[in-house]
């Protein structure tokens, strides 16, 4: 139960932090915000790695590997595409 309460606390506090940080993002950057936060949602790759590395049974490991592939597409693709967009915004300053 302790663990559950701690998890809920973390969850709610993070939502508040999220609202505070994200409401300050200007409309110009809404697309990069979306693809950047999307890449962060790929954090589920951490869970996928643990799942893929589990010792038994085989079906869990197989599902884990598929999850690793899915999540890594999300993470790598998300951060790279965001970077491509942001470099376009940056270039004009120079």
């Amino acid at each position: 139960m302790d663990m559950f309460i701690t998890s809920v606390t973390v969850f709610l506090l993070a939502i508040f932090v999220g609202f505070e940080v994200i409401t300050k993002v200007p409309p110009t950057l809404h697309t990069p915000l979306m693809s950047g936060s999307n890449a962060i949602s790929g954090i589920t790759v951490v869970g996928a790695i643990v799942a893929a590395g589990s010792k038994e049974p085989l079906v869990a490991a197989v599902l884990g590997v598929v999850a690793v592939i899915f999540a890594t597409i999300n993470v790598v693709g998300g951060f790279l595409v965001t970077n491509r967009m942001l470099l376009m915004f940056k270039r004009k300053k120079n």
Partner: protein, 462 residues
């Protein structure tokens, strides 16, 4: 690696994500912010790989390499105009991964997690439901934006009943899994029902509402990751997932406000013309003036303030570079050029900003709706390129119109309005636009890019 140590590393990764998102508050700091977020992710992945519970690395490495290669290839080759569907697809993969991780936690709980059983079962079903619906919903959004899926049924009563039934079925199956966790078939049935629900919810949604849907799916993928965090008792997943969930909800809210729609309407209704709406013939009959690029160039010749209004038509025609060239030419001739960006112009939040940034348009020239609307009466020319519903004065004037109350760009108040458009076909709202027949409006019929190029040529010849 000890439990304490790995949790500290996860905490550092979480801080990287928060600071990374904070970096996005300014275009100047944004690239470093994104890099910080990516570093946090790398840190979390490396720490997890070094974790002592992990026994078999081969499969994991294969998964990382395959996924990384696919993601990198897609991200580096995608056209900027195709960005909305790319983001939608990536999003779906994240959601799908969450549902799969929850499944493995149900199969081998002792191996993966030490959370109390009730938390494991409740969180797993939440992750499975949200993750699966996000996966299929995102894939449908991808297909619709890509233009490969044109099927768009009217959202009717029957469909609402089916969706309600599917959702109830999901909740029933979730309750069954919680009470009877050894019945893994119930979890897979839940995932299947949620997957169908994701399709059913996204299929009836039209192109104009896509920015809302993509923002919402973004939020869902975060919530799925947070739910997986509850499954595994892992704080970095809970923190990152809720950050993304909050971000998606904020953007969803902004998009809904920009269209004067409630979220419930977007999800469960469609925007159709009402019975009283004027027909295209009544609105346009004999009043539409078509102009040639040469005539338009003459008007531009004396213009001091020009406001360019880009829409999805500009994106489809890939006209952003030509538009930038036209703006440069006008500036060389002493005119001031501004860009007016409606929040839902395009197919995802801020889509136009990215396209114009790609064409090197300085972001100081980009104005949001509330910043620019007062400037239209002073503008000599408002140049509308492929936008329709977001410049329709009906939204301001006709309370019986389906788009009544939606904030629009007041282009009709400019001295001259030039509209580059292929035809008089309506936008996604399906209603005619009286702007096209206004006394101060000129239609330049043609493809966005070709017409802008012809305008440039005509201006240079003067």
């Amino acid at each position: 690696m000890g439990t304490q140590l790995i949790n500290i590393v996860y905490l550092i990764a979480s801080i990287c994500f928060i600071l990374g998102l904070k970096g996005l508050t300014s275009p100047r700091t944004a690239p470093q912010g994104n890099l910080l977020g990516a570093s946090g992710m790398l840190l979390a992945v490396l720490a997890t790989l070094l974790d002592q519970h992990i026994l078999t690395y081969q499969l994991i490495i294969v998964g990382l390499v395959v996924g990384g290669a696919i993601g990198a290839y897609l991200a580096l080759t995608v056209q900027m105009t195709a960005m909305p569907q790319m983001v939608a697809a990536f999003n779906g993969f994240g959601g799908g991964a969450s549902a799969l991780v929850a499944a493995t936690a149900l199969i081998a709980p002792g191996d993966l997690t030490s959370v109390p059983p009730i938390q494991l079962y409740v969180a797993s079903t939440a992750s499975g439901l949200i993750g699966a619906a996000t996966f299929t919903g995102s894939m449908v959004a991808w297909a619709k934006l890509q233009g490969t899926l044109l099927w768009q049924p009217k959202s009717d009563v029957l469909q609402k009943i089916i969706n309600g039934g599917l959702f109830s079925l999901c909740l029933l199956l979730a309750a069954f899994v919680v009470v009877n966790p050894t019945g893994l078939w119930a979890y897979w049935l839940l995932v299947a029902a949620a997957a169908v629900l994701g399709v059913m919810l996204t299929v009836p949604i039209g192109g104009a509402d896509m920015p809302v849907v993509i923002a919402l799916l973004n939020s869902y993928s975060g919530l799925a990751a947070a739910a997986t965090g509850f499954v595994l008792g892992n704080n970095v997943l809970i923190i990152s997932g809720s950050l993304v969930g909050a971000s998606g909800i904020i953007l969803t809210n902004i998009m809904c406000k920009a269209m004067n729609r409630s979220l419930v309407h977007v999800l469960f209704g469609t925007l159709g013309p009402t019975a009283e709406t004027a027909t295209a013939d009544e609105v346009y009959g004999g009043k539409v003036k078509s102009a040639s690029p040469e005539e338009a160039a003459m008007i531009f010749d004396t213009a001091r303030l020009v406001i360019i209004v880009p829409g999805y038509g500009m994106a489809v025609a890939q006209a952003q570079h030509a538009v930038r060239d036209l703006a440069n030419l006008l500036e060389q001739r002493g005119a001031e050029v501004r860009y007016a960006i409606h929040p839902v112009a395009g197919r995802m939040p801020g889509h136009m900003n990215v396209l114009l940034a790609e064409a090197d348009v300085p972001y100081e020239q980009l104005y949001a709706l509330e910043q620019i609307n007062d400037s239209f009466p002073e503008a000599d020319v408002a140049l509308v390129i492929g936008a329709n519903d977001v410049v329709n004065p009906t939204a301001r004037e006709d309370s019986s119109s389906p788009i009544y109350g939606m904030p629009i760009l007041d282009v009709d108040k400019a001295r001259t309005v030039m509209i580059i458009k292929r035809s008089l076909s309506p936008g996604f709202a399906g209603i005619p636009n009286p702007l096209f027949a206004a006394p101060n409006a000129l239609m330049l019929f043609g493809d966005g890019k070709d017409m802008v190029r012809e305008l440039i040529a005509a201006l240079k010849e003067q």
